[in-house]
């Protein structure tokens, strides 16, 4: 294995050059956005486009966060955070509980329910968006956090993932817990939850980003500008027709929108790796 990695000098240089080029290609647009968020609109529209950060960073970001366009960015970040966390926590909670029911309890139509959940994999939000909207409207969930979160909470993927995990937990462990006197709730809390830590961490990352990036559903369900999420907020900022816009402020908003998912990945990655190293059966 190490023989494969330890290459001669020039090969290593070439490999590194390749990696650096790749990273540069991926990072360049983000860098340009960052530069654009630190200059004035005048600097930006005058060719050549600036490639070095300017002195207006604080000014642009302050404007974006507290003023924005219509809705201040802090408000939209907050909305997005509530929605993303709501979706993530809700999805994990619901799917781990339904997987628990499907794997460990015998009830009528158990497999029927399992396949019903599984079938919803074929019906993503976009497909069922009109009826879902009608239901949400009837329940007067428009312009509310509940309306943003609830319809996106059911998750066949996460249920399936937890089901597979539970199926790998040996029966003897379940029986040992029964003999130790653990009832269903204790078993779930003391044994199953800690053993699912790694999966929960991984799902948290994936689902948070999924929730954060929701666009279509928030666009439909929120009409009040105060309920806008950041992802749809950026879209609203884009110029329509001959309107002039402040590109530095838009770029600042875009970069701010990237921060929470990045933070979640960085933070959870540590837990995630720790979980992988620590727990095995």
């Amino acid at each position: 294995m190490s023989g494969m990695v330890e290459k001669k000098g020039w090969r290593r240089v070439a490999l590194h050059a390749g990696i650096i080029t790749g990273i540069a290609i991926v990072c360049f647009p983000i860098y340009v956005a960052f530069v654009a968020s630190t200059v004035t609109q005048g600097d930006l529209v005058r060719p050549p486009m600036p490639l070095l950060p300017g002195p207006h960073l604080i000014e642009n970001y302050t404007r974006a966060i507290f003023q924005g366009y219509g809705t201040p960015v802090w408000r939209m970040l907050w909305n997005s955070l509530v929605m993303a966390l709501g979706i993530t926590v809700g999805k994990i909670a619901i799917s781990i509980v339904s997987a628990y029911a499907i794997v460990y309890f015998r009830f009528p139509f158990r497999m029927f329910f399992f396949w019903m959940i599984f079938l919803t994999l074929m019906l993503p939000v976009e497909v069922r968006i009109v009826p879902t909207y009608a239901v949400a409207a009837d329940l007067s969930l428009l312009n509310s956090y509940t309306g943003l979160i609830l319809p996106l909470i059911a998750s066949a993927t996460a249920t399936f993932l937890f089901r597979q995990l539970f199926l790998t937990i040996p029966d003897e462990l379940v029986e040992a817990a029964r003999i130790d006197g653990a009832g269903p709730i204790r078993f779930f809390r003391d044994i199953l939850l800690p053993m699912s830590r790694t999966n929960i961490a991984a799902l948290f990352v994936i689902l948070f980003i999924y929730g954060w990036n929701q666009y279509l559903w928030p666009l439909l369900i929120t009409t009040d500008a105060d309920m806008n999420t950041i992802v749809m907020g950026i879209k609203h900022m884009l110029p329509t027709g001959d309107q002039t816009v402040e590109w530095p402020v838009i770029m600042a908003t875009a970069l701010l929108a990237m921060l929470p998912p990045v933070a979640v990945v960085l933070f959870m990655q540590r837990l995630f790796v720790k979980g992988l190293v620590e727990s095995e059966k």
């Binding site: 040996p170 029986e175 040992a176 817990a177 029964r178 003999i179 130790d180 003391d190």
Partner: protein, 348 residues
């Protein structure tokens, strides 16, 4: 401390009955080994006592209380599993303490009990470790510790040594025996290993295809196997079985005969002696020889094609493969079985 009474226990999965009415009385403090080949129902029987399987018919009483409809935790038993079944995310201490914690025992009492058990099992240095940081033998000790701390009425062991290597198995076998003696807790121990059964058991239940073929002390079972199955299962190498018909004339010559109804004659390898050709029960050809040091096993083929194993105390056997020798039986060590494999009662 309690006696266990099994009354005509039956178990069916759908229309298939897998346990056909097992009855046994286990005295307080006794170690009973249930032994049999895989699929004989021994684990199912144990799991019914534990409350992990429902009882289709019959009754199980622990300490005089019928427990058929009680949850495992209400039966006051502890179980040791083959794969240890330790909680992987808990430390050794927490693994042993979990049952007590659920029972609502105070923290200081739990710590005292766990520390006592850990001392007894020499687990003290490992209390803070996770199960995966322990060797197989240590894990099995933790599993036993988990059983001990609860001071139950009965221990149930489900093939606890099967995952250990041969040397450790012998050592742990002795430890379990010593521990059970010391604690004096009624124990049911399931194994497929007849050596384990012979060495551990106060009494053993030999099971085959859902039936208890014989219940008795190891030596009773060894010296008086009730069926050909028991005779063939207990003892290594197993008992030799010969067709009674061909031996009848020879046996008749030897005097009064109680083997008339016998279909099969069984002889233990140590009860076969060598003699000159034509002078014994039958003649056979040496097929191969296993010298085990303290003793030598001779594998022979009779003219009818039956295999006979002879255990010879002489470590330096002079016979060679291909040689023909005569075989005779040590008197009174011939076992007669009828067509159903049941022992033919002697009619003296």
């Amino acid at each position: 401390m309690a006696e266990i009474a099994l009354r005509d226990i039956r178990k069916s999965y759908g229309p298939t009955e897998v346990i056909h009415g097992v009855s046994a009385d286990i005295a307080d403090g006794e170690l009973i080994v249930i032994v049999g080949p895989s699929g004989c129902g021994k684990s199912t029987l144990l799991r019914m006592v534990a409350g992990l399987e429902t009882v289709t018919a019959g009754s199980i009483a622990i300490g005089g209380r019928v427990v058929n409809d009680l949850e495992p935790r209400e039966r006051d038993i502890a179980m040791v599993f083959q794969n240890y079944a330790l909680y992987p995310h808990m430390s050794v201490f927490d693994n042993m303490a979990y049952g007590l914690k659920i029972a609502g025992i105070s923290k200081s009492d739990i710590a005292a009990k766990v520390n006592d058990a850990a001392r007894m099992l020499e687990l003290e240095p490992y209390l803070a470790r996770k199960p995966r940081q322990l060797s197989g033998g240590q894990r099995q000790r933790v599993a036993m510790g988990r059983a001990i701390v609860r001071s139950p009425s009965a221990f149930l062991f489900d093939e606890p040594l099967s995952n250990l290597d041969a040397k450790l198995r012998v050592q742990m076998r002795l430890e379990i025996k010593a521990l059970q003696r010391k604690l004096g807790v009624t124990s049911l121990y399931v194994t497929h290993d007849q050596v384990e059964a012979m060495t551990l058991a106060d009494r053993m239940i030999v099971m085959n295809e859902g039936v208890a073929e014989q219940i008795g002390t190891p030596l009773e079972v060894y010296n008086n196997p009730a069926t050909t199955f028991v005779a063939g299962f207990i003892g290594s190498p197993p008992m030799n079985f010969l067709d009674a018909e061909r031996l009848r004339s020879v046996l008749a010559r030897q005097g009064p005969n109680r083997l008339d109804r016998a279909v099969t004659i069984g002889i233990r390898p140590e009860h076969v002696e060598r003699t000159t050709v034509g002078n014994g029960l039958l003649d056979a050809t040496v097929a191969f020889i296993e010298a085990l040091g303290a003793e030598t096993l001779l594998h022979l083929k009779t003219d009818a094609g039956e295999t006979v194993v002879v255990r010879s105390a002489n470590p330096e056997e002079t016979v060679r493969p291909g040689e023909r020798i005569g075989l005779k039986a040590v008197p009174d060590h011939l076992f007669a079985y009828d067509a159903d494999g049941r022992r033919v009662a002697s009619e003296d």
